[in-house]
């Protein structure tokens, strides 16, 4: 780690908070009462925006029902305040938030398998249904005209201001801390692709449910605060339309960042103020925010604060290396390929041997054994009874012309196909019926053809996420092995080739037993490709796992792997040591056509 990077990593978030809090306290003490009230409202708006920022910007779930969670929080606070007037107001607010969080958790669990636009529509339906149910009666206290009066001292506007901001800051600190843990990082993967998440061993359902629950917590607390601010709540405060307006404001401001959430609160309060002073009608405000969100979406760079943050990041890392540097390695002795075991027959005893697996002709059970893998879509057979064995310390290449079924093969192995014929065994244990996430956790790790490394986090965070329960032991070794940039570098700033390296690094950090790499050298220049091939060859020795490699570059295949299997049109046409396979005429025919082979 260079000094320059160390300094940046040491920029503590703590320091940034202290002046912020000082300013807030000053404002709270010296501003006139009306302005104190306005800034309290900014805090509440920031809470709601942050909740949307968490669920939508971080976890990628479009939520159109945050105000409904706020309604639940507000309802609970009103109810308890009526039944137990002496209860301290902050406690009520926290209880309201907790109840809302429970409902959010329930919603998240129920909708675990629903995603994307369908999930968004479900949240809208929830919002509309809750609105309807709430309209049938009134909020507690409204019927008798008994408003919620926050207990002393929070009925004073300045204390209320302090309470709202204290809650906002505490919740933000909490969520920021959580976002740095493996679980919180899981949200960012889920946003990019649920596939990628499962392949990293992230429990997608749990991640979505926790995002919903925490978002609902924030919104519920905001609703409780609103109960204290208004006194009497009505459904007009929590309409689905309000949820939508908050959504577009959060998108506009980039509410995944604290600054963005505060900005959203500021917009919500001061845009109408501005319109009023300029003399424009109030209803223009919502339209302005919506159009702002449209513009932000059009540019595709995230909300205002996110754009600012991105620009600051670029400036900060201007002189820092953000690419993977693969230094040429000293050449290795070419390894002898391992002879495969004959298929097991019941009448023949398998010879046990204590020879080390690196010796020539070693007979040992394969680490990954695939027998008769068949995938058929109607009459079309994507894979037809393919057998493949990968041994413990080898790099095995899977090659074949386009459309041969290689990626389908990997999909089946890693659990991304609903069903397949045949058997897959990892170290003797069948993986049949295991979900993708389970297989990943058992040690089958893969990378994707289209790079899935996540934009919004740093190198270190990605490695921690990919490492998961395997922890951080290997990070230093892997970083050096693949020449990764410094840990604080945002992945956003890395090029595609480096991101591919990072994906491989992430898989290695997780202590896999077998690594399935889908075209790792695509997009790399020749020198880098060669350097990568050399490293690939060393992976089994250094990291103790086998590698199955899909590649098109034959030079890479020769340099990196010891054995190869060739697929053509779903059928296995050759398997064996690399040099033999690549010289096989049927393989040449498959790639180049029949005439050239002859």
């Amino acid at each position: 780690m260079r000094l320059g990077e160390a300094k940046r990593i040491l920029t503590p978030r703590r320091f940034a908070w202290v002046p912020f809090v000082v300013v807030l306290v000053t404002l709270g003490l010296i501003l006139p009462v009306y302005w104190v009230y306005l800034f309290s409202t900014v805090a509440i708006g920031a809470l709601i925006a942050r909740s949307i920022g968490l669920v939508t910007n971080q976890a990628g779930i479009i939520t159109l029902c945050q105000m409904s969670f706020a309604a639940i929080g507000g309802w609970v606070v009103s109810w308890i305040a009526l039944a137990w007037p002496a209860a301290p107001f902050p406690l009520l607010v926290l209880i309201g938030g907790a109840v809302a969080a429970l409902v959010g958790l329930l919603v998240g669990i129920t909708t675990a398998r629903i995603r994307g636009v369908e999930l968004a529509v479900v949240t809208l339906g929830f919002a509309a249904a809750l609105d309807l149910v709430l309209r049938q009666g009134s909020f507690p206290g409204v019927g008798t005209g008994t408003p919620v009066i926050p207990t002393a001292p929070f009925d004073d506007p300045r204390w209320f201001f302090a309470l709202t901001w204290a809650l906002v800051i505490l919740l933000q600190l909490g969520i920021a801390a959580l976002s740095r843990t493996a679980h919180g990082l899981g949200w960012t993967v889920v946003r990019v692709s649920e596939r990628a998440a499962a392949s990293l061993g992230v429990r997608v359902g749990a991640a979505k449910a926790s995002a919903f629950a925490l978002g609902a917590l924030f919104a519920g607390i905001a609703g409780g605060l609103l109960a204290g601010q208004y006194g009497l709540l009505t459904t007009a405060v929590f309409t689905p339309l309000n949820s939508m307006v908050y959504l577009v404001t959060a998108v506009l401001c980039g509410a995944s960042l604290f600054g963005g959430a505060v900005l959203a609160g500021v917009f919500g309060v001061f845009v109408p103020e501005l319109l009023r002073r300029v003399g424009l009608p109030l209803d223009v405000g919502n339209a302005l925010l919506a159009i702002g969100a449209f513009d932000v979406l059009r540019r595709g760079n995230g909300g205002l604060m996110e754009q600012l943050n991105a620009r600051l990041q670029e400036r900060a890392f201007r002189n820092v290396r953000v690419t993977c540097e693969l230094v040429p390695l000293p050449p290795l002795e070419p390894l002898e390929p391992i002879e495969p075991l004959p298929p097991p027959e019941p009448s023949v005893e398998v010879a046990q041997t204590s020879l080390s697996p690196h010796a020539k002709g070693a007979i040992e059970p394969p680490l990954l054994e695939v027998r008769g893998l068949t995938i058929a879509y109607g009459n079309n057979r994507a894979l037809d009874a393919v057998d493949l064995s990968v041994y413990r310390h080898e790099v095995h290449a899977l090659i074949g012309p386009n459309g041969a079924g290689k990626s389908t093969f990997v999909d089946a192995l890693t659990g991304f196909l609903p069903s397949y014929g045949g058997a897959v065994h990892l170290d003797g244990d069948s993986v049949h019926g295991l979900a993708a996430r389970e297989r990943a956790r058992r040690g089958i790790r893969r990378t994707f053809q289209q790079v899935q490394a996540i934009d919004s986090i740093t190198v270190d965070e990605y490695l921690r996420l990919a490492g998961g329960s395997a922890g951080t032991e290997r990070i230093a070794a892997v970083r050096e092995f693949l020449g990764l940039p410094g840990g604080a570098v945002p992945i956003r700033l890395m090029d595609i080739g480096s991101r591919r390296m990072l994906e491989i690094a992430g898989a290695l950090v997780s202590r896999p037993r077998v690594l399935l790499l889908d075209e790792p050298a695509a997009g790399l220049a020749e020198a880098e490709s060669f350097a990568l091939a050399e490293r690939m060859r060393r992976i089994p020795a250094e990291f103790g796992c086998a590698v199955l490699l899909i590649e098109h570059d034959m030079g890479f295949v020769r340099a990196a792997s010891t054995r190869a299997t060739v697929l053509d049109d779903g059928c296995l046409i050759s398997t064996g040591p690399v040099s033999e396979v690549l010289d096989d005429p049927s393989v040449v025919a498959a790639y180049l056509g029949q005439e050239l082979a002859e």
Binding site: G60, I62, L64, T110, T111, R113, I114, R115, G116, V117, E118, A120, V121, V122, L124, G125, F126, A128, A129, L130, L132, V133, Q136, S193, E194, R195, A198, P240, L241, M244, V245, L247, V248, V251, P281, D283, V284, N286, A287, L289, A290, I291, A293, F294, L297, R298, G300, S407, D411, F416, P418, A435, A436, F448, Q449, Q450, Q452
Partner: protein
């Protein structure tokens, strides 16, 4: 019970028509249009404004349809022109933006709550099985079925339909084939806008909704479209009718009636959880 069901069929037809429009737009342009009913409401209110200003009903209706079609077409143009290949979530947020803008415009133009909403059809009704069935119900039902049939046929059996479907999946490829995707997209949006307006014009006189409540009729329509996974026209139409019927029938059951608006949502959730019980992965590889 039966009369409750029949009385709910007008609403159900409107939901069905809106749901079919939503499905159409999703299949052709890849957008789940949360503002579909709002566009229809805009057209309907324009029509009613003209009626209030003294124009004959026929002319007012045409004016309303034109305004809705133009607004929708313009939205489609904006989306196609300014977004390259947006993700599904971006498209959804854009349709939310559309809804908010139309609501604002609608409040501004049509803020007065009193609005006379004449029925498009004569007030005739006849008795069927002890229940009065109005002509509006029959026509609304017929229109819903017509729209569903029309769209299915269009998408499956005409060349334009096939082009449109291709456009949604691979817009660049289709463009390379020389098909003018922009025109097709605008056409799809405009047609959906016009049809939605018709649905709103049929349903409004029975309920006299405000601009806002009319725009939020999209929620039951979305629930119906959701059941068809936003791709099956017939499921969407039938689900829309069913939701309307359940709302009507539920009105007569005392303990249920206050909350019957929430029933469609519950049913959709249950149905979805069942339909999605197997793990299915997103397409990206």
């Amino acid at each position: 019970m039966l009369d409750g069901v029949i009385s709910g069929l007008v609403s159900g037809s409107a939901y069905a028509i809106l749901a079919v429009c939503v499905v159409m737009l999703y299949r052709l342009v890849g957008v789940v249009n949360v503002g579909q009913a709002a566009i229809g409401a805009l057209g309907a209110y324009v029509c009613y404004s003209f009626v209030g200003a003294g124009l004959p009903l026929g002319v007012a209706v045409l004016a309303g349809l034109a305004v809705a079609g133009l607004t929708a077409g313009f939205s489609g143009w904006v989306l196609a022109r300014w977004f390259g290949k947006p993700s599904e979530t971006v498209r959804l947020v854009v349709s939310v933006v559309l809804l908010i803008v139309i609501l604002t415009v609608g409040f501004r133009l049509f803020g007065d709550s009193p609005r006379v909403m004449p029925s498009l059809l004569p007030e005739n009704s006849f008795v069927l099985g002890g229940v009065r069935v109005s002509l509006t119900t029959v026509v609304a039902l017929a229109l819903a079925i017509l729209v569903a049939v029309g769209l299915s046929l269009l998408l499956r059996h005409t060349q334009m339909g096939i082009r449109l479907e291709a456009m949604s999946e691979r817009p660049t490829t289709v463009q390379l084939l020389g098909v003018n995707t922009l025109v097709l997209a605008i056409g799809a949006w405009a047609t959906a806008g016009v049809i939605s307006t018709l649905a709103m014009l049929l349903i409004a006189p029975t309920r006299n909704p405000t601009f806002e409540t009319m725009s939020f009729l999209v929620v039951p329509a979305l629930a119906a479209a959701l059941l068809g996974a936003f791709s099956n026209v017939w499921i969407a139409a039938i689900a829309g009718l069913a939701i309307g019927a359940i709302e009507g029938a539920g009105a007569r059951i005392d303990w249920l009636s206050s909350y019957r608006g929430a029933i469609p949502f519950l049913l959709v959730i249950i149905a979805l959880i069942w339909l999605r019980r197997r793990e299915v992965w997103d397409a990206a590889r």
